[in-house]
Symmetry: C2
Subunit: 351 residues, 2 copies
């Protein structure tokens, strides 16, 4: 009854630092220091405090701590979807680095809807994330403005673009597909088709298509409108698209099919097998991602590999370096995809 509060505000019920202080016979300041700046506390007192904390099973309340210290030790990541292992691997890499450094990770999925991405970013900002990673550059300007005006360090992942105003950790999607197309050109192909995932709100896909077109243009070629199939990134769509492409008469049919990813290419290869068609005898085809199955499939799929987990690791490290004040801004890092030449793409057959 001595110093009871005048208003009933029932606490959280959790043990609080004050109780630890009382039990250890020290001030609250000392308890705090014992955990956050241990060298500033004498060996003996430190031990006493830790014993008391353990005995009471105290877990510091992060809200109180965050309010007082203006640190949350929370980082956030926003990806389009977890249904794609590419992004899952990236998150996995980030998660482990952050966790190791005492950061907990918020995860948001935009489902390729920029507004949803913005909403989730706002929710994370309100909760005091100290850094944010977002996939790609296709986001509302408000998102980057919110980050910049609050001085929250961030990186764009998966895309890499020299000219970008944002720190990027990823690879040059355009250059990668330019390279793949050059490979097919060097095999003698002159007639190209493409099977792609949708490019709505997706700067990576747009860049990939541009890479193909750049390479073809340099050889005086292009992809005809009817030879560009765009749809869901499923085996089914890969298969259907392949079937559609093969309805063209042999003379005007593409000999090389560039797919936006391995899944689409594998779907096409399966459809081919059902029709008795074979790569590289009857056509050539390429993918992107180098899924585990792509190398073991028959024919082995020519594709490109990107270490997505590493993208996540690098992104987290850059963000942590900025948070720690080691650098003013996240630095861009370019990852170079590795080309995997296998049997699915061979020399163009004379017709």
């Amino acid at each position: 009854m001595a110093t009871g509060s005048k208003r009933a505000r029932g606490g959280s019920g959790r043990v609080k630092l004050e109780e630890v202080a009382r039990k250890a016979n020290v001030s609250t300041a000392t308890v705090s220091r014992a955990f956050n700046e241990p060298d500033k506390v004498s060996e003996e007192v430190r031990q006493r405090v830790k014993d008391a904390a353990r005995a009471l099973n105290w877990i510091p309340n992060a809200a109180g701590r965050a309010l007082a210290s203006r640190r949350t030790h929370i980082a956030g990541a926003i990806i389009p979807t977890l249904d794609n292992e590419i992004f899952a691997h990236q998150i996995s890499g980030m998660q482990s680095v952050f966790s190791e450094r005492g950061f907990t990770l918020f995860l948001g999925c935009s489902n390729y809807d920029p507004d949803e991405g913005l909403r989730q970013a706002d929710a994370m900002l309100a909760r005091g994330v100290e850094a944010l990673a977002v996939v790609g550059e296709s986001h509302p300007p408000e998102l980057f403005e919110a980050l910049n005006s609050r001085g929250i360090p961030y990186v764009v992942t998966y895309s890499y673009n020299k000219a970008s105003p944002h720190p990027c950790i990823g690879f040059d999607n355009r250059a990668a597909f330019h390279r793949m197309t050059d490979h097919l050109l060097s095999l003698g192909h002159r007639r190209f088709a493409a099977i792609f995932q949708p490019d709505t709100n997706n700067d990576r896909v747009k860049e990939r298509l541009r890479g193909i077109r750049d390479a073809l243009a340099a050889a005086g070629l292009d992809i005809a409108a009817q030879d560009l199939m765009m749809g869901p990134s499923t085996l089914e769509f890969g298969a259907e698209s392949f079937a559609a492409l093969m309805t063209r008469t042999v003379g005007s049919r593409a000999t090389a099919i560039v797919c936006g990813n391995d899944n689409l290419a594998l779907g096409a290869l399966m459809a081919a097998r059902e029709r008795g068609l074979e790569a590289p005898r009857d056509f050539s085809i390429t993918g992107f991602d180098d899924l585990a199955i792509s190398s073991r499939f028959s024919p082995g799929l020519t594709t490109m590999k990107v270490d997505n987990q590493q993208i996540g690791v690098l992104a987290a490290n850059e963000l942590l370096a900025v948070i720690a004040g080691e650098q003013a801004r996240a630095q861009s890092r370019e990852i170079v995809p590795v080309m995997k030449v296998r049997e699915s793409a061979g020399r163009a057959q004379p017709r």
Copy 2:
């Protein structure tokens, strides 16, 4: 200089509720109510407050709010790994439900290390998660104790076990593999092998193996020690294991191979193809998961499908119901896997 604080404690630099109140000419209490209990504020004042907030680009500080209200609007999920699409889909389902209800999601991966899972759970508890979902029951007792002693609602996902002391949202792994084994028995198989992922710290895998053994025991059969291959859940291990099993002389060789998941089964099927062996002519094989490729593969893979996204959705809804006080405890929900009978498992061939 009038009421300046006596101590320099430089704030966060962010706009705060107090400034919104000043601009709108109301008290801080009114600003808070305008957002959290709008009916308690007159139409006109509410509008004035919202305008002021917008003009100042105010985002509420979640730490302050959490401290005062003892609500964080944060939930957490701990899964073994994101490298498995099964868990990625589950998280995806949870994420979207939570996000819709104003909750932000912490994601932790234990990498099948119970201590790491516990550490992440503690970090989440310190940050005030209002609910937690964990995959499976293989966790240190401290984890569940911490949850229970703090009254944090939780669910175990993916596993379902009638006898479990925890609320479970998932399926009965043992029953599923019992069913699959019965299917193979009904096809006349009497000699079984299994290719499985490791069962360390993994109650789901242990239950699956038990399901197989239960079904076999009922038929007076068992799996010989050398016919149980256990290793990484990769195509490679599936392939190697198949090769190893096929080195046995035909008479003592398994005719049915039960795989712990589709990936292992697909690896085995690929190895078979390389050797000129074919299912179901030369052997029968089953998987679990029904990956997209499993139905299109040739032969189509007999397997079982679980809607993992739905598990995530149900888990999030249960947790939200408890948080909202609609029920005292999360309720268990059993999902029933759907059997997909395809060509890879056929009648046992006479030898």
